[in-house]
């Protein structure tokens, strides 16, 4: 289940009216220790007044003459990553959250989003956790785009840990995560640490590109480990988004199904002594 902005937004939201004075709004912001006031006119969001707007404006002005009228908002059911991408893209600090009737119901700030997103980052490798891939997958499914899931499972990592110790095991995972990170093309690929010794790529590359890329990934892992005198194999199961998964309404179920297929693919590949296996 993807975390939505509604779960983390701040509410109730203090607001200003367009006919309020800037001085009045500034006092309100100072009193409550807040950095912005959404501006409502008859319950409709018409602007946002930030501390930067206040610094730039004469205190006698109306809020309507000082507020930023260019508004970026987000819907209550949007994911944290959607909100964060919007904040980053528009280089803003806060987003008013609207309900289905376009009414203001909350506010999310960059700092509380970052704090929340930190929970979806794996502390050992610095990669996102599986919720990130679920979010990207659901978004692409809703947009009816094609993609592949690569489920990378390290071979005999339990034995590796027993042989070298967990500290070396952790360093090995960090090195693999770093290596996998170098294989990411931001336009097409998304990566997460799925579980203990499992990593998942979601990519919008073509089938031919994915085939070639999977072999490259395996080679790169081997080379990186060899450089530090270690050796662990990696098996990759690949699931391709096909017609039956193109269900916009059930994107959440469909992405789980794809990840599962890719995971089963990697298990089968191990059984069949194959390094890469395409399923679906």
């Amino acid at each position: 289940m993807i975390v939505t902005v509604e779960k983390i937004m701040k509410r109730p939201v203090l607001t200003a009216k367009p006919e309020d004075s800037v001085a009045n709004a500034a006092n309100k912001m100072e009193l409550y220790g807040i950095g912005c006031l959404p501006v409502l006119e008859q319950e409709v969001l018409v602007g946002i007044l930030t501390s930067r707007d206040i610094r730039r404006s004469h205190p006698n002005r109306l809020v309507a003459d000082a507020m930023s009228k260019k508004l970026y908002t987000i819907k209550r059911d949007s994911s944290l990553w959607t909100a964060f991408s919007l904040l980053r893209e528009k280089q803003i600090e806060r987003l008013p959250v609207l309900d289905e009737e376009e009414r203001l119901i909350g506010l999310v700030t960059k700092s509380n989003l970052m704090m929340e997103l930190g929970k979806y980052t794996d502390p050992l490798t610095g990669l996102y956790t599986s919720d990130y891939i679920r979010f990207i997958g659901e978004t692409l499914l809703k947009e009816e785009k094609e993609f592949a899931i690569l489920f990378i499972d390290l071979d005999g990592f339990g034995e590796f840990n027993k042989k070298h110790g967990h500290v070396v095991g952790d360093k090995c995972l960090q090195l693999i995560a770093e290596t996998l990170g170098k294989n990411v093309y931001p336009e097409t690929d998304f990566l997460c640490r799925y579980g203990g010794d499992e990593f998942v790529f979601l990519t919008t590359k073509t089938v031919e590109e994915v085939n070639k890329w999977a072999v490259e990934i395996q080679n790169n892992i081997q080379l990186a480990l060899k450089a530090v005198d270690l050796s662990v194999g990696a098996t990759i199961g690949i699931a391709w988004k096909q017609g039956q998964h193109c269900c916009k309404q059930n994107a959440s179920w469909a992405i789980e199904e794809l990840i599962n297929q890719a995971s089963l693919g990697s298990t089968r590949a191990k059984r069949e002594k194959s390094s890469v296996l395409f399923v679906g």
Partner: protein, 102 residues
């Protein structure tokens, strides 16, 4: 004691609203709308120290705005800056010359 009549609205033909002036275009718009409904237009300026020009609509009926606004800004900026609100009076003289066949 000095007595004088209060002008309604307290401006003449044009108001040049500076970007950091104590009143902004929205306040000016509300003022003219309340005191002289439908008689003025507020034209925002994209850049420069002037944020908006509040102008009597009849002037725009006499001269096209693309001719009028550059003149107002050019002359107004000799006096106005981003902190001021300057009112201006504009007199337009139309000279008509016509030859008549007798």
């Amino acid at each position: 004691m000095k007595l004088s009549e209060f002008e309604i609205p307290p401006m003449q033909d044009v108001l040049l609203v500076g970007r950091k002036a104590p009143i902004g275009p929205e306040a000016a718009r509300r003022m003219v709308e309340v005191l002289s409904p439908d008689q003025y237009e507020v034209i925002p300026a994209e850049e420069g120290p002037i944020e908006a020009i509040v102008i009597r609509k009849t002037l725009l009926n006499m001269l096209p705005r693309e001719k009028m606004l550059p003149v107002i800004l050019e002359e107004g900026l000799k006096v106005a800056n981003e902190t001021t609100v300057i009112k201006a009076q504009i007199n337009i003289f139309v000279v008509v010359k016509r030859a008549i066949e007798l």
